[in-house]
Point group: C2
Chain length 485, copies 2
Amino acid sequence: MALERGAGPLGIQIQDQLRAAIRDRRLGAEERLPSTRRLAELLGVSRGTVVDVYQQLLAEGYIEAAAGSGTRVAAIPSGLPARQPPDIVAASASASASASSTGPAEADFGYGIPDLGSVPLTDWSRAVSEATRTLPTAELGDEDPAGSRHLRKVVTAYHRRVRSGCAVAEDAVIVSGFRQGLAFALATLARHGIQRIALEDPGPREHDVIARRAGLDAVPVPVDDHGLDVGRLHQSGARAVLLTPAHQCPTGVALGPSRRRDLVAWANEVDGVIIEDDYDAEFRYDRQPVGSLQGLDPARVIALGSVSKTLAPAIRLGWVLAPPRFVAGIVEEKRLSCRGAPGLDQEALALLMESGRFDRHLRRVREIYRARRDVLAAEAEAAFGPGRLHGLAAGCHALLRLPDGASERAVVATAATLGVRVNGLGHYRFAAADAEAEPDPRPPALVLGFGNVSEHQIRRGIRALATAVQHQSRPLRNDNPTPTH
Amino acid sequence: MALERGAGPLGIQIQDQLRAAIRDRRLGAEERLPSTRRLAELLGVSRGTVVDVYQQLLAEGYIEAAAGSGTRVAAIPSGLPARQPPDIVAASASASASASSTGPAEADFGYGIPDLGSVPLTDWSRAVSEATRTLPTAELGDEDPAGSRHLRKVVTAYHRRVRSGCAVAEDAVIVSGFRQGLAFALATLARHGIQRIALEDPGPREHDVIARRAGLDAVPVPVDDHGLDVGRLHQSGARAVLLTPAHQCPTGVALGPSRRRDLVAWANEVDGVIIEDDYDAEFRYDRQPVGSLQGLDPARVIALGSVSKTLAPAIRLGWVLAPPRFVAGIVEEKRLSCRGAPGLDQEALALLMESGRFDRHLRRVREIYRARRDVLAAEAEAAFGPGRLHGLAAGCHALLRLPDGASERAVVATAATLGVRVNGLGHYRFAAADAEAEPDPRPPALVLGFGNVSEHQIRRGIRALATAVQHQSRPLRNDNPTPTH
């Protein structure tokens, strides 16, 4: 046993080394330990130190003392292999560092990431600091299960002002983001007797898995140039639907005015519920954003929002705005599954939104996105000809239509070899392998997220995509290459 | 329609008022709206402003325009009553303010709240500020599903150093607190084929509900003066157990050394899993805290920890340290249910723990709790005689044994009328109304949390409890008063 002066109290060092030796079976069960007097002499420490060590290991069950037979290593039963030593930490940390040193893609058109270089970190840090000074002490304890009352007032006022909603603080439940809000809402609908939910096809990924975890049967409903096909929704037998009306993910279309009314009529006819993913709604370039569906029928719409795209995913705050009959159920889901979001962060977000700094940030990034969108449109037209880019009126992604007969998979794979990360439209099809899904009637296309791609990267990325398309239009050696990411 | 100069753009005011009128049915379906020219004249605004308003409401589905018939209010179907106007916000906010103005209890011995006046808010605010400067930009996006790698390294190093654990970063999943970690762990065990979990009786509240939500059958196992009765655990047929070994909730006993080994033997015999609620472990007054069970059998123990009791519930960060075979399942639960905890807060906590300010805070509050504990012990002895207070070796709560024959419920109710909030031991019985639970063999007792009660409040509170006990020992007019909280 090697003791180091200056490496912490000697007693702790002895304890740690004995524990490790017993765990690693270097000291076997029943093995007799030296007397405290003898070990103290061996290690050159006081006997009291060793007595304390033995008492500690005795209390923790590593050793046992029987009258007349001294102190022995206890038999710690385990049918499983001994643990690797903590050295693994250092080894795996360096492994992970070398893995990431392969460098980022030249352009990553991945979906749904905002401009991470523009996150208002100073504003956020100031808001947290202000929250630590202004939050009442009692609110540092377990929160109101529905979330900070202050934030619920602020986000519903924001939703009324910016999204033309009509929810009030009592309708709001604060969550850690869109996905948690969705899980709570779906579980609550299941408890209210709803059995089947319709999902947009193509649509956001994994919502079918999340719906099934909540106990709901998930069915696809097609999206056309006016958004979700409400006629097909009628035929689906679903009593709930989840959709992205402001800027459909991934096609980029906005739900048309008559579709909005038809959707509300459907919900009232089947006693159903519309879950509105109010995604990308803040970023509309040609006009004022279309208001939230929640404002059109507050008794039938559950609106989900978050700051993951307006501020950053790393802030992790969102909200559910629900008709009164669902609020208690959503709060109960939250209370039993996690107790909710950090109280200090909730207060910080409320202060940030009240101060006007949140709006100022949105105005600033909207101009960044508008400029990126313009570059994307110009580059796409130069590389692929006019009329190829769709869904550019709002949000941070667009759809690039490929030449007829092009293979999305081949283009995606070739692009990857050129350092460009992108997904095909087929990536967003509902359970592509599922028999229920129809063959995709849409021409091949790529989904181009441009939230976190610089103008320079957009230019390089689009040129690389043009190269990838040219290459795949001639027969490739390997007809079905597997995407490498 | 009343327009106010200075109350925002006129077009927005007109939109908002038209939307509200259509929602409230003041403008009925099919009702014809004035032409844009006419409305512009009426309101004294430019015609372009009204054209924009109509286009917006058209896009949102509130109005429709048919060739030859002008613009009409759309038929928005709803079988549910119209919404209350947003005035409800102001009204309900003032109602809630007056409800809370009834004032706090004179002493609140509620369980599980740390000293909210000691939360190191300045340290936290500085750590968040540092995190905004040091976190790599890429980590502002969606996090590694297991959580911040930095924090996983820091909390496992902490757990090895302070709790004698032996987990490494790869074993850790960051969560929003104990309850979320428990839900993920239980769901993962259910997917691994475990069907029944044993819970301490008496034990923390609602864990039976949470276990059943995860699909597990929950059964009670009694706690005696050495902690969980492992013999009874053997008989329970459970293959998992959840317990509080460092300082049992609510009895305050620590799990004895031979029980710790018996527990590990049980887990290996039944191919089972021990979930360790490493609660209150940091606060031991008489000696070094007993190490985490995780260190004794890392292949069988899932350890759950959080900073809710060491820092504050409003920080909402915790961790699951799991055997390697469960880590992927826990991460998947997390990814599908919420995507996890805020990245900035995770970095802030890692920095706080690395800086030594977390340890310094623990040393400071440990002295505060020790002083409160000493006052509690002295006051309890003065009021109730010696040997009545148990479970004081660690943590922030103790058990006050009442005179034989006293009614917990009567004392709790009488105490409430004297401004003292407290719970009886029976409050922590497993499903008290359940036929499976045995009649409580324990004498009547109160659970006294002293984490968030000042010394002054402890003195007043204990005297009030003595009064309550005296009053209930004489027959009360109402034999079964209902607690008012």
